[in-house]
């Protein structure tokens, strides 16, 4: 073996990390090689010099400053800030760093986020094709700002005819808050309200020839549904239709 074969083990030789046979092999080589002996001796001196460096301590005031900072962190943590505040801080920090590094990238990021949020909002309504088709072919066109009342019998008949292709209104009624708690005693009569999406779904699934009655004014772009349950069955359903057809959310419901 040559000197370069022993050199990678000098450090472990000094640290006493070698196996017995490796240790003896290097010691034998060192006894006959002054060059390697010198290298090893210098390495030992360098290691001793580094190990002899004094241990450095932080400034005296650092211990108190650290204690206060950690106490603040622990107290803050125990009070459990809401998670959204951390997210808000992170986004604020990201925005600040983005402005410092490249305002163009920050503005581009915000635009991408805004476009993404906008697409999510405008695509979250009911499927346009089915609603339009159903309403255009089966329903006489009402005017906006009307309240319509449909009998439950007609709706159930339509649900039986159409199967499960569309969601019958009775399910909307049954899933209303008044019917969710089955352990509670059932009231003989209960009022319920359905969200706007339920109204749109009902308009797509109810049969033609509803009783269009009682035109009423309604709020701009607001659609809501109200009804009543008598003896566990929904008897009437009132739909307040939007008054502005160009409203994006309801523009899909074309009458």
């Amino acid at each position: 073996m040559q000197c370069r074969d022993f050199e990678p083990f000098f450090s472990q030789y000094i640290d006493g990390e070698l196996e017995r046979n490796q240790f003896e092999s290097i010691r034998f080589h060192l006894s006959g090689c002054p060059r390697c002996h010198l290298i090893l001796e210098e390495m030992q001196q360098a290691v001793n010099a580094v190990q002899g460096l004094p241990r450095l301590a932080p400034r005296p005031e650092f211990a108190e400053a650290l204690r206060q900072r950690l106490h603040q962190e622990i107290t803050q943590d125990l009070y459990q800030r809401p998670e959204w505040t951390r997210w808000a801080e992170g986004l604020t920090e990201f925005w600040r760093a983005g402005l410092q590094r490249s305002p163009q990238i920050a503005v581009a990021f915000i635009l991408v986020v805004a476009v993404g949020v906008g697409m999510f909002i405008f695509q979250s309504g009911p499927p346009a094709g089915r609603v339009n088709e159903t309403l255009n072919t089966q329903r006489p066109a009402p005017s906006f700002g009307q309240t319509l009342t449909v009998s439950a019998r007609e709706e159930r008949a339509q649900a039986e005819r159409s199967g499960s292709a569309s969601r019958p209104l009775s399910r909307l009624a049954l899933s209303s808050p008044a019917r969710q708690d089955r352990r509670a005693p059932q009231p003989e009569r209960a009022e319920f309200a359905a969200p706007p999406d339920s109204a749109a779904l009902f308009l797509a699934s109810t049969p033609p020839d509803p009783h269009w009655v009682l035109p009423q004014a309604s709020g701009d772009g607001v659609a809501s549904a109200r009804g009543s349950i008598v003896d566990g069955r929904r008897e009437t359903m009132h739909y307040l239709l939007p008054t502005i057809p160009s409203r994006p959310r309801f523009s899909r419901v074309a009458f």
Partner: protein, 211 residues
């Protein structure tokens, strides 16, 4: 209100293993964290300042280390030594700081082309000057400068092995490298350090062992 360790536990907090203490922290006994801080504050500072060579920066990194340890206390699992875990966090922060400085130096117009590996202590802290503790003697300053001129990976293993006196296995856990890699890296680091110190020894004419 902060919850405190039981009275019987307080006396044992001085001699208890790190893992037991940190387990108390995980259970909500935040006073056990004070014992950990007292145990590791100076050790981490001595390790980090040998790498970053600025007192204020080292103190900031020590503080950040403890904050991260506390925030991620529930991620620690007792399958690894606590000392290994806390050194890993501290060294990651220190090496990140050194990389930031290297990038700053790269883009700075005041870069000294001769000093490509480490920064000179005289230039590293223009406001307060180099730390006096690092200049306890001419030899100590030379050794510290020689360590600072090593590449980061060699500087790290020298500090962990010869200053913090961690075993090769502990260093391999801290740096997440195989033990064989750490052994050869320590050997190369010592050879490079020895080469840098040889010039100093030749100039001064007295051996390093007098440090």
């Amino acid at each position: 209100m902060l919850r405190s360790v039981q009275t019987s536990d307080t006396t044992s907090a001085l001699t208890a293993p790190d893992e037991w203490l940190f387990n108390q922290v995980q259970r909500g006994h935040t006073e056990a964290f004070d014992a950990i801080v007292n145990r590791y504050r100076d050790r981490l500072f001595n390790c980090i300042i040998r790498l970053v060579r600025q007192t204020e920066c080292a103190e900031d990194l020590v503080q950040e280390t403890f904050l991260r340890v506390y925030r991620s206390r529930n991620e620690y699992q007792a399958t690894t030594h606590f000392s290994t875990w806390i050194y890993t966090i501290a060294l990651n922060l220190a090496r990140s700081e050194l990389r930031k400085r290297k990038r700053r130096r790269f883009f700075s117009i005041n870069t000294d082309p001769d000093d490509d590996q480490g920064e000179r202590p005289e230039l590293s802290d223009p406001a307060g000057g180099p730390d006096d503790q690092l200049h306890h003697s001419e030899l100590g300053r030379s050794i510290q400068r020689a360590i600072g001129q090593l590449p980061i990976k060699y500087r790290t293993v020298i500090v962990l092995r010869d200053i913090e006196e961690l075993s090769y296995e502990q260093i391999s856990e801290v740096l997440q490298c195989p033990t064989g890699t750490i052994k050869s890296r320590v050997n190369r680091a010592r050879l490079k350090l020895q080469e840098k110190l040889r010039y100093w020894q030749d100039d001064r004419g007295f051996p390093l062992s007098r440090a």
